[in-house]
C-alpha cells in the first residue's frame, strides 16, 4: 500500500470520487487550475475537466449556496472553503438552508453535499488561519461534522461523506497535512510515511461516519479528542507513562457516545481536549453528556484542555496551543483528584 500524506490522501479520495461518481463536482477558491492552496485538488481539473473541478469567485456564501442548488439538481458537490476561518460568510446558508432543506421540505429536496476546509492552528497562521470552529457546526441539527486525524481516515471519511445523503462538513487539521504532529514544535517534522495510518489503499474504501476509534487502550483515564490533538494525546500518554485510553472521535456530529461512555465507565476518569476556545467549545457538549451517562462511574471531575478564550494569537501560538505539557497537567490533576 502506498504511503501518502494527508493532502495526497484527500487528493486521492477526490480523484476516486470523480472517477466513480458522475455527479461529483469539486470546486472552491483556487481549487481548480491551481488545485487548492494546500494542493488537495491538484491535478484533478486536468484529469477530470474544467467543469467538474473548477475555481470559484471569492464568496464562501455563494459557494455553499450554489452547491445547495447543484445538490438539488442531482449533483454531489464537494466544495472547498479555503480556511475554516473563512466559512462564516457561508454560515447563514449552512444554518438556515443546508441543514434544513430535507426537514423543511419533508424529504422532497435533499442536499448531499460535502464541505471540506483546512482547520486548526500550529502553522503560524495567526488569528485568521488557525481557527477551530467545529463547535458552532455541532449545534446545527441536520449537519454532520467530521474531523480526520490521519491520511487513511481522511480519504475514507471523505468518500463516506460524499456518498452520504446528508450534508457533511469535514474539518481537515492542516497541521497534520504533511505529517503527524505530537505537539512539540521544536522537534523535527515527522512524516506520514512512517505512520501506519499513512498507508492509504488505492481505490474506493470508506471509514464510517459516526464511529469513534479507540486509538490506544488503557484503564486509568480516558482522553476524548479529535484531529491534531489525537497525536498530542498519544504523545502525552507515552511521555508521561499514563495508562490512558485515547478516543479519536472522527465524527463530532453525531458523536459516538457508546464508545465514549464504555471507556469512561471503565476508567472512571476523563479529559477532553480540543484546540478551540474553551467556553462553549465542543468539549462542553462531550462533558455534559458524559457526566450524564457515566456519573456513577466518575471518580473525578472531567477536565478540559483547550485553546484559550481569545482569538488564536500569532506570536504566542505555542502558548495558546493545548500541547503535551498542559495535557499532562490535566491528566495528573484528574488522576490525583
Amino acid at each position: 500500500m502506498p504511503a501518502k500524506n494527508m493532502i495526497q490522501a484527500i487528493n486521492d479520495g477526490l480523484d476516486v470520487l470523480l472517477d466513480t461518481h458522475d455527479d461529483v463536482l469539486v470546486f472552491g477558491e483556487d481549487a481548480g487550475y491551481f488545485g487548492g492552496v494546500f494542493g488537495c485538488s491538484q491535478g484533478l481539473q486536468k484529469k477530470h475537466g474544467l467543469d467538474r473541478v473548477f475555481d470559484t469567485p471569492i464568496n464562501e456564501g455563494a459557494i455553499v449556496a450554489a452547491a445547495i442548488g447543484m445538490a438539488t439538481n442531482g449533483m454531489r458537490p464537494i466544495a472547498e472553503i479555503q480556511f475554516a476561518d473563512y466559512i462564516f460568510p457561508a454560515f447563514d446558508q449552512i444554518v438556515s438552508e443546508l441543514s434544513r432543506i430535507r426537514y423543511r421540505s419533508a424529504g422532497q429536496f435533499t442536499t448531499p453535499l460535502t464541505i471540506r476546509t483546512p482547520w486548526g492552528g500550529g502553522i503560524r497562521g495567526g488569528q485568521t488561519h488557525s481557527m477551530s470552529p467545529e463547535a458552532f457546526f455541532t449545534h446545527i441539527p441536520g449537519i454532520k461534522v467530521v474531523v480526520p486525524s490521519n491520511p487513511y481516515d481522511a480519504k475514507g471519511l471523505l468518500i463516506a461523506a460524499a456518498e452520504c445523503d446528508d450534508p457533511v462538513i469535514i474539518f481537515e487539521p492542516k497541521r497534520l497535512y504533511n505529517g503527524p504532529f505530537d505537539g512539540d514544535p521544536n522537534k523535527p517534522a515527522l512524516s506520514w510515511a512512517k505512520h501506519p495510518k499513512g498507508e492509504v489503499p488505492d481505490g474506493r474504501y470508506t471509514v464510517p461516519l459516526g464511529e469513534a476509534e479507540v486509538v490506544r487502550e488503557g484503564s486509568e483515564i480516558t482522553i476524548v479528542t479529535y484531529g491534531t490533538l489525537v497525536h498530542v494525546a498519544l504523545n502525552t500518554a507515552e511521555q508521561e507513562g499514563v495508562d490512558a485510553e485515547i478516543i479519536d472521535l472522527k465524527t463530532l456530529a453525531p458523536y459516538d457516545i457508546d464508545t465514549i461512555a464504555a471507556s469512561v465507565n471503565k476508567t472512571g476518569r476523563c479529559v477532553v481536549t480540543h484546540e478551540a476556545p474553551r467556553t462553549s467549545g465542543f468539549g462542553a457538549e462531550l462533558i455534559a453528556q458524559i457526566q450524564e451517562e457515566c456519573f456513577y462511574a466518575l471518580e473525578a471531575p472531567i477536565a478540559r484542555v483547550t485553546g484559550w478564550d481569545t482569538p488564536y494569537p500569532h506570536a504566542h501560538e505555542w502558548s495558546y496551543f493545548p500541547g503535551p505539557e498542559r495535557t499532562a497537567r490535566a491528566i495528573k490533576r484528574v488522576l490525583e483528584a
Binding site: G61, A62, A65, M70, D165
Partner: protein, 409 residues
C-alpha cells in the same frame, strides 16, 4: 444631489399616512416604447433596457409594440383564470387566518401577473425558486388547491408535516423549490441549480424571485456574481412592489437608480418590466428563458409593481403609508388590465368574468371544506408528533431517537 453634510442622508418615501399620494413624478415609458432586442444580444448593447419599462398593454389595454408575445386567447384566458383564482384564494385565506384557522398569511394582491405570467412563460420542467409571494405561480403550475390549503392550515395532510409556516410551500412534483423564511437565500441556490443543469447538458432553466427589499442582501450579489461568471441559465426576478414591510424601495437602494440596473454592474442582461401587465411579464420571461436556454446567460428582471395589501397578517400598512396609495398607483390592476384586453379582443365578456369569479370562489370554498376535513392547526388532527424527529438526517441519529423516546412519541 447636493445634500448638506450635517446629517446622514436617510431617504424617505414621497408619501406618509395622511398625505395624498400622487405618482405623476414617475416617468414611466409608454407601452411599446422600450425596444426588444434579440435573445442573444450582448448585455453591453442593451443597457438602456434597465432604465426602460417593458410594457405591452397600453392605456387602452391594447397590446402594442415589439414585446407583444402574441399569445393565443386560450393562453390569456388561462392566465386570467390563474390570476383570478390566486386573488380569490388569497382573499379567502386571509379571512380564514383572521378566524384563527391558520397562524399567518401573506397575500399577493396586485402582483398576480408577476407570478402567474412568470411561470406560464416557462416550461413545466423549468425549476422555480420562489419567495413567499409567488403563490400564483404554484397555482399556474396546477398544484391542487386542497393541498395548498392543507399546508397553510398545518393539518394532518400538510405535505410539510406542520414544519413550516403557512405559505412556505414545497412541491418537488411541480418543480417548485422549498420556500425559505430567510430572505434571498434561494437566489444563489437557483444559480447553482442552473450550473448543474449546464453540466448535465440539460435545457431547463431556473427562475427565482426575491423582493426589492431583499435585493440588499448579500445573497443577491452571490447570485449575480455566480450567474455572470458561469453564465448560468437563470432568470433572476426582483419584484419591486415598492415596499418591504414598512420600508419604501428607496431604503433598498431604489432612490439613485432602478433595480434592473444592478444587472449592468455584472454585465448581464437587465430588463425593467411593468409587473402589472400580464403580457409584458410573459414576454420578458419568455425572452429571458430563450436567452438562458440558448446559452446566452442569465437575465435580471425588475418587475415594477405595487404591494397592494399589508406585508402579511402581522402588520398594518396604514401606519407607514397612505391608506389609498394603491389606488393612485399608475400601473393599475393586472387582472383588470388583462380582462379588459381580452374583452377588447372579443375573447371575453363581463359576464364570463363574473361567472369565472363565481366558479373560482366556489372552487376555493369547496377546496377549503375538503382541506378542513383533514384538520386545522387549532383543532387538529396534525401530522403525527413523531414526524418532528424525522428528516433531520436521512437516518435518525441516536440523539434524535432518544429525544423522541423522551417525549414518548
Amino acid at each position: 444631489m447636493a445634500d448638506a453634510r450635517n446629517s446622514i442622508h436617510v431617504p424617505a418615501p414621497k408619501f406618509r399616512p395622511g398625505d395624498t399620494p400622487d405618482f405623476s413624478h414617475l416617468k414611466l415609458p409608454r407601452a411599446g416604447e422600450t425596444p426588444k432586442p434579440d435573445v442573444d444580444a450582448d448585455p453591453a448593447k442593451i443597457r438602456d433596457l434597465a432604465y426602460g419599462l417593458v410594457r405591452v398593454l397600453d392605456h387602452n389595454n391594447q397590446a402594442v409594440g415589439d414585446w407583444n408575445p402574441e399569445l393565443e386567447a386560450k393562453v390569456l384566458r388561462q392566465g386570467l383564470r390563474h390570476m383570478v383564482l390566486t386573488r380569490i384564494y388569497d382573499d379567502r385565506m386571509l379571512k380564514l387566518q383572521r378566524q384563527g384557522k391558520m397562524s399567518f398569511y401573506m397575500k399577493s394582491l396586485g402582483e398576480e401577473a408577476i407570478s402567474v405570467a412568470g411561470v406560464m412563460a416557462l416550461d413545466a420542467a423549468d425549476m422555480l425558486f420562489p419567495s413567499y409571494r409567488q403563490q400564483g405561480g404554484l397555482i399556474a403550475r396546477g398544484k391542487d388547491l386542497v393541498e395548498m390549503m392543507c399546508h397553510c392550515i398545518s393539518n394532518s395532510k400538510d405535505n410539510l408535516l406542520g414544519r413550516q409556516l403557512p405559505v412556505h410551500y414545497t412541491s418537488a412534483a411541480h418543480n417548485w423549490f422549498t420556500i425559505s423564511g430567510n430572505l434571498g437565500t434561494q437566489f444563489p441556490q437557483a444559480v447553482g441549480w442552473a450550473m448543474a443543469e449546464s453540466k448535465k447538458g440539460g435545457s431547463r432553466v431556473a427562475s427565482s424571485w426575491i423582493g426589492e427589499g431583499t435585493s440588499a442582501e448579500g445573497d443577491f450579489h452571490s447570485a449575480c456574481t455566480f450567474a455572470t461568471v458561469y453564465r448560468a441559465p437563470t432568470i433572476l426576478n426582483v419584484v419591486n412592489n415598492q415596499w418591504a414591510i414598512s420600508t419604501s424601495q428607496v431604503i433598498a437602494g431604489g432612490e439613485a437608480t432602478t433595480f434592473a440596473a444592478r444587472a449592468i454592474g455584472y454585465g448581464i442582461a437587465g430588463l425593467r418590466v411593468d409587473g402589472n401587465d400580464f403580457l409584458a411579464v410573459h414576454a420578458a420571461t419568455q425572452w429571458a428563458a430563450a436567452r438562458a436556454r440558448g446559452g446566452h446567460g442569465p437575465t435580471l428582471i425588475e418587475l415594477y409593481s405595487y404591494r397592494a395589501e399589508a406585508h402579511s397578517t402581522s402588520d398594518d400598512p396604514s401606519r407607514y403609508r397612505p391608506k389609498d396609495e394603491y389606488k393612485a398607483w399608475p400601473l393599475g390592476d393586472p387582472i383588470a388590465r388583462l380582462k379588459d384586453h381580452l374583452i377588447l379582443l372579443g375573447e371575453w365578456t363581463e359576464d364570463r368574468h363574473a361567472a369565472l369569479e363565481k366558479e373560482m370562489t366556489e372552487h376555493v370554498v369547496k377546496s377549503y371544506k375538503e382541506a378542513e376535513s383533514h384538520g386545522t392547526l387549532h383543532d387538529g388532527p396534525l401530522s403525527p408528533v413523531h414526524t418532528m424527529f424525522e428528516d433531520v438526517y436521512a437516518e435518525q441519529t441516536w440523539n434524535l431517537r432518544r429525544q423522541r423516546q423522551d417525549l414518548g412519541v
